[in-house]
Amino acid sequence: MSLDNSIYKKLSDEELILEFQKEKVEAFNELVLRYKDKLVNFLYRYTGDKDEAEDLAQDAFVKLYRSKHLYKEIAKFSTWFYTIAINTAKTDARKKSRYNAMSISDYDPENDKDYEIPANAQSPDDYANAGIENYYIQKAINSLEESFKQVIILRDIEDMDYEEIAQVTELPLGTVKSRINRGREKLKKLLNEIYKT
């Protein structure tokens, strides 16, 4: 089994997915090992919540498991897989926006207490190790518009090429560059406002 795994480690992402299309589960396992951290990081920066990011990453891998036959060698595997991940995140965001959010504190109007649900996301104390600056940067990214956020993350966090970003987002190259530029400007403004406060 370890020998088999070592063979798959030498294969490229595209070769692994082709092997997985031949019903070889070890190829899929290798792909999961290669992309799980990248995907969780990308989705964390996109959503701002780690648990949510892991759930979305797992959903993306499940979609990959079901629709492995859809991959064709025209594009890179990373491009195709990131497209799946972004679409999964977007659909999840749309679902959440439809829910009518209400405060649990409002459920019991007689009591003035505010009910707080413990959050598993990184608290500001956790951010202290990484720097308060990182916290505020993440807060600024979360406040960006959807169209700017994804391109900024793919370019400045994941360090993808402009062409690859254009393929993932299915946008023209010029649109990608302009959005990245405008996104950076907005991010700068937001950070200046945060630092001032």
Binding site: D37, E54, A57, Y65, E133, I152, R184, E185
Partner: protein, 283 residues
């Protein structure tokens, strides 16, 4: 690149952000989700197979495409055949000329209107207006006489005039109230109906006597004229002439007798009607 230089500080800050890694439980959770997804797929496949109706199985995708036109054609053919069978059954109930022709060929006679009426009028009874007398229209009492007396002529003749000598007096129905009644003085009186009956008897007797006399006269003539040798042509012709005359006489007499008999019957009926009307008026 100019754009990159403008916002390089932001890019560097974003690149320096710490990388978030997946938790240790990530792979197990992923395996659970994959197993759930497989189970759901299997259930969907099973339900889809069960839900497939007969129509989908027959006419669904990738099934037999020729089934639809063939079935429709068979249905149309069955419909046409059923209509034809039903209509043929109805038509057979209505009598046609062919049926009549068949009857003719089987019996050897042409079905006349009289024969058609015979079946309906055989047992019919006609009531008089006053409902006091019932006249049986059954033809047994008033038999149409046969064509000719076979004793007189051996060869059948086409004439259908009835011969009165064959009619029997007893066949004439005697009125019910015709019994003689005694008067106060002791004389036997006959009622009017009885008188009419007796008149009819007399007429029949006279007719029979006349016919007999005519027949005997002709027979005597035949005997006188007929030669001893029967093979003589002239004699045969003469005898034939006499026989023809005889036939004519009998035909005439029979015609007369029938006319006379009908007249008598009519007279009788009229008299009876008058008497009935009188009785009703008296009442």
């Amino acid at each position: 690149m100019h754009e990159e230089e403008q916002h390089i500080d932001i890019r560097e800050k974003l690149l320096k952000l710490p990388k978030v890694k997946a938790s240790d439980d990530f792979l197990n959770a992923l395996q659970r989700k994959i197993n759930l997804a497989d189970a759901e797929l299997n259930q969907k496949k099973i339900t889809e197979d069960v839900k497939e109706s007969i129509w989908v199985k027959l006419f669904g995708k990738k099934r037999n495409p020729w089934l639809i036109p063939s079935l429709s054609l068979t249905i149309v053919v069955i419909f046409i055949i059923s209509i034809y069978v039903l209509n043929s059954g109805k038509v057979s109930e209505i009598p046609t000329m062919s049926d009549f022709q068949k009857k003719e060929t089987s019996t050897g006679k042409t079905p006349d209107d009289k024969e058609v009426l015979k079946d309906t009028k055989e047992k019919s009874t006609n009531q008089d207006i006053t409902n006091n007398f019932k006249f049986e229209t059954d033809k047994k009492d008033f038999k149409a006489p046969s064509v000719l007396d076979k004793k007189l002529t051996e060869t059948p003749s086409p004439v259908t005039i009835p011969a009165p000598m064959e009619r029997k007096v007893d066949e004439i129905s005697r009125p019910s109230n015709s019994e003689p009644v005694k008067n106060e003085s002791g004389k036997v009186e006959y009622k009017k109906e009885e008188k009419i009956y007796q008149d009819m008897e007399k007429n029949h007797k006279d007719e029979s006597n006349m016919s007999k006399e005519g027949n005997t006269g002709i027979e005597e003539q035949i005997k006188k004229v007929a030669p001893k040798e029967k093979n003589d042509v002239k004699d045969a012709i003469e005898t034939k002439g006499l026989i023809d005359k005889k036939e004519k006489m009998t035909m005439k007499k029979s015609a007369k007798s029938t006319v006379d008999s009908t007249k008598i019957n009519q007279q009788v009926l009229e008299k009876i009607k008058e008497e009935l009307e009188k009785t009703i008026d008296e009442k």
